[in-house]
């Protein structure tokens, strides 16, 4: 584990994550104090210059996002996305379990920057224990007076993947069906209950205290220049060490799997890696020497996404896996837009036909045509990204499909 670089998880298991007192003893809430003493514009500039980009998957510059929030709006909200619905991703849960106070501090820093005194944490429905932990952590911070006049409320999702999409998340907090809104207007202008809202991921917020404490230059100097800082990756599948690691963003995928992950279980060969969760592309062995930062992953046609790393050994049946994935998307499509509602259903149908050995090349052509339209025309990221596993495996593992078609 020597090569990990722990910033967010520096005090993991050394302090009680619920306790604000213990967090303060290791230097917590200094960043927020510093933020309070800074001019608002300087604070936003500091976050901008740190180069911190969204850790939820879209990779948008956090300070830039904050700067879009209208200054004169009376009510504004800070929303933390803890929906963490991508299968194989559990980094946000780990951050909460190891360092929940850093998340609260990060949200309060954002509140200071945009002029909001109300935050919401939207926690996925499958994490009731995290909700409990966070409520205790908020209570502890309140008792210590660490958050000042910044309030944080925890709201719980009901198990919909699409609610990880920021506007669907907002709809869900408002008590509506979890369906994405069209953009613009972006949440920064009209978000929760129609007022300016910043939605950031848990990991993004948790980076803020150390950026304020140690300075933007320090943060900008870690890892990849265009996507600086550390990233928590979560290993699943056929790796030896299926656990989480915090690494600088210029770390390469091969080292994640072979150095930290201990390689493939049972000494088998690696067939593919899926990075970023179920909507991520499949990466073949020859592309493993890629840095895990946002842009490098994008350059090989993949996406860093949430930082989930699913390792598949040589015995895995790619077509079977993608069939299961297509079933997942069929189940999770909210049904609002035509390309996704009907497309994910038909993708699953065709994938099952291929997997059952009943499909022809014509079916694969139809599938590729459908995924191209979904990618271009779907309303939100779900429908636009659902095609990636299909497209990337047809590209890199064509022989596996060829074996099954008639």
């Amino acid at each position: 584990m020597a090569e990990e670089m722990r910033v967010l998880l520096e005090y993991a298991d050394k302090i009680n994550p619920e306790s604000a007192d213990e967090y303060v003893k290791v230097g917590g809430y200094v960043g927020l104090e510093k933020a309070r003493q800074m001019e608002i514009n300087d604070l936003i500039q500091e976050v901008k210059s740190s180069g911190l980009r969204g850790r939820g998957g879209a990779g948008f510059n956090a300070g830039m996002k904050w700067s879009f929030v209208p200054k004169n709006a009376e009510i504004k909200y800070v929303v933390c996305n803890l929906d963490e619905g991508e299968p194989g991703t559990y980094k946000d849960r780990i951050i909460c379990e190891k360092n929940a106070q850093a998340l609260l501090e990060g949200m309060a820093i954002c509140g200071r920057a945009i002029g909001s005194n109300q935050g919401y944490i939207y926690c996925r429905g499958e994490y009731p224990f995290t909700v409990k932990l966070l409520k205790n952590a908020i209570q502890s911070a309140k008792e210590l007076g660490a958050l000042g006049d910044f309030n944080i409320e925890v709201r719980m999702g009901a198990g919909a993947y699409v609610c990880g999409e920021e506007t669907a998340l907002i709809e869900s907090i408002e008590g509506h069906r979890g369906e994405p809104r069209f953009k613009p207007p972006f949440p920064g202008v009209a978000g929760l209950w129609g007022v300016p809202t910043v939605v950031n991921n848990v990991e993004t917020f948790a980076c803020l205290p150390s950026i304020l404490t140690k300075g933007s230059a320090w943060f900008a100097g870690i890892g990849a220049a265009k996507y600086p800082g550390t990233k928590i990756v979560t290993l699943t599948g056929d790796a030896v060490n299926t656990t989480f690691f915090e690494v600088p963003t210029d770390y390469i995928l091969r080292d994640v799997i072979y150095k930290l992950g201990g390689g493939v279980k049972g000494g088998k060969k690696l067939k593919a890696v899926q990075v970023g969760g179920t909507s991520g592309s499949f990466i073949p062995e020859q592309n493993l020497d890629t840095q895990i930062d946002f842009d490098s992953m994008g350059a090989i046609g993949a996406a860093l996404g949430s930082g989930a790393v699913l390792v598949l050994d040589e015995t895995r049946d790619i077509v079977d896996i993608v069939t299961r994935i297509s079933k997942f998307f069929e189940h999770e499509s909210c049904g609002k837009c035509n390309p996704c509602r009907e497309g994910t259903f038909r993708c699953r149908e065709i994938m099952e036909k291929i997997n059952a050995g009943k499909a022809s090349q014509k079916d694969i052509d139809n599938l590729l045509l459908l995924t191209r339209v979904m990618q271009k025309a779907a309303l939100c990221g779900l429908g636009q990204a659902a095609p990636f596993p299909i497209q990337s495996t047809i590209k890199h593992f064509a022989h596996e499909y060829a074996r099954k078609i008639v």
């Binding site: 069929e330 837009c337 035509n338 038909r346 139809n366 271009k376 309303l379």
Partner: protein, 353 residues
């Protein structure tokens, strides 16, 4: 003003104009299914996708604000491909019985399939079948034809305010339903039929007009509803000299009072027109029997009786009870008649609850 180019034509539009309107201004006919100018935007059918130069994805024109310098193509190969596939996806879930469908000839799905040459769907397979038949006397609900554009949901919420229906379930299983998916009769539905009016396909049609004539077979006559004094405008659908239905005109120019909205009576209650029980001439009761009379005879008869009562027992022995089916002006004249000509203030009206 914002300058943009649509299909090679430079145009200027005011700030805040949506790309869809800009395209229309430039003479481009962009297809839409979920868009309705009177309702909140949904941006969900994706039929109106257009290509904006420099953007990786297509944009839904109805929900995208026009921006300075945009270069838009409304029928590029990518756009046409997407629209064709979207139509094929909709066809794959749509019960194709156009020959007996009430909407045949005025169905947007049919029109766009014709326009883009979509004869068949390569994605036809299994699919959810809803087969909803609702035992109400007014709407036929056939959700095997529904394309989930949600215009019915929005009109019910935004125009009628009944909020009787919404989307139930997720993904391909999504369907329009009342609360707990019960009958419309048990919901807050008032059977105004605004949903039938906005449905772009044959999922919602009138049971009262069923089988009586398709839209292209009828002649539509603009008229005013006689049910109350509100004065809603609608069109009587006439086929072979018989009224076979009522449809709305939504343009303010023709429908200044109701802009297409009607109530259950106006939209579905027109079968009295040819009812055998309908009175078509005044009747006078003689020796306990009613006999037909002319208007002159009936009015003279009534006037003489009123005069006689007034002379015998005084004007306050008479009273006027007028109707909400008459207009304000008619009601004004009626009370004037009683106050000025007959000389009583005994005036009342059925709509003074």
């Amino acid at each position: 003003m914002i300058k943009l180019t649509v299909n090679g034509r430079e145009i200027q539009v005011p700030k805040g104009t949506m790309v869809l309107d800009a395209c229309q201004q430039a003479g481009a006919d962009v297809p839409t299914l979920c868009y309705d100018p009177d309702l909140k935007l949904a941006g969900s059918c994706r039929m109106c996708v257009v290509e904006a130069k420099g953007r990786p994805n297509l944009m839904a024109a109805c929900v995208s604000p026009a921006e300075n310098g945009m270069v838009i193509e409304t029928e590029s190969p990518d756009v046409v491909e997407s629209r064709k596939i979207i139509l094929e996806l909709l066809l794959a879930r749509h019960k194709l019985e156009c020959h007996t469908c009430e909407k045949d000839g005025s169905c947007k799905l049919q029109d766009y399939c014709y326009r883009y040459g979509v004869t068949d769907s390569r994605y036809a397979g299994q699919g959810a079948h809803f087969g909803m038949e609702d035992p109400n006397p007014f709407f036929k609900r056939d959700y095997d034809k529904c394309i989930i554009c949600t215009r019915c949901v929005r009109v019910c919420d935004e125009i009628t305010g009944a909020q009787a229906i919404n989307v139930k379930e997720r993904g391909h299983h999504a369907k329009i339903a009342t609360v707990f998916d019960g009958k419309l009769d048990d919901s807050s539905c008032v059977f105004c039929g605004q949903c039938v009016m906005v449905c772009p396909v044959g999922a919602l049609t009138s049971k009262v007009s069923a089988g009586k004539g398709k839209s292209y077979q009828t002649q539509n006559v603009l008229t005013t509803c006689t049910y109350c004094g509100t004065g809603c405008t609608f069109e009587l659908n006439v086929k072979d000299d018989h009224v076979v239905g009522v449809t709305s005109v939504r343009e303010s120019e023709f429908s200044p009072v109701n802009k297409g909205a009607l109530c259950v009576k106006g939209r579905f209650g027109w079968d009295f027109i040819e009812s055998k029980e309908r009175l078509t001439t005044p009747l006078i009761r003689e020796n306990g029997e009613l006999r037909p009379a002319s208007w002159d005879e009936a009015l003279d008869y009534a006037a003489n009786k009123i005069k006689a009562i007034k002379e015998k027992d005084g004007p306050d022995s008479l009273a006027l009870f007028s109707s909400a089916r008459a207009t304000n002006e008619e009601n004004y004249l009626a009370q004037k008649l009683f106050r000025a000509a007959i000389g009583t203030n005994n005036v009342d009206h059925c709509a003074r609850l």
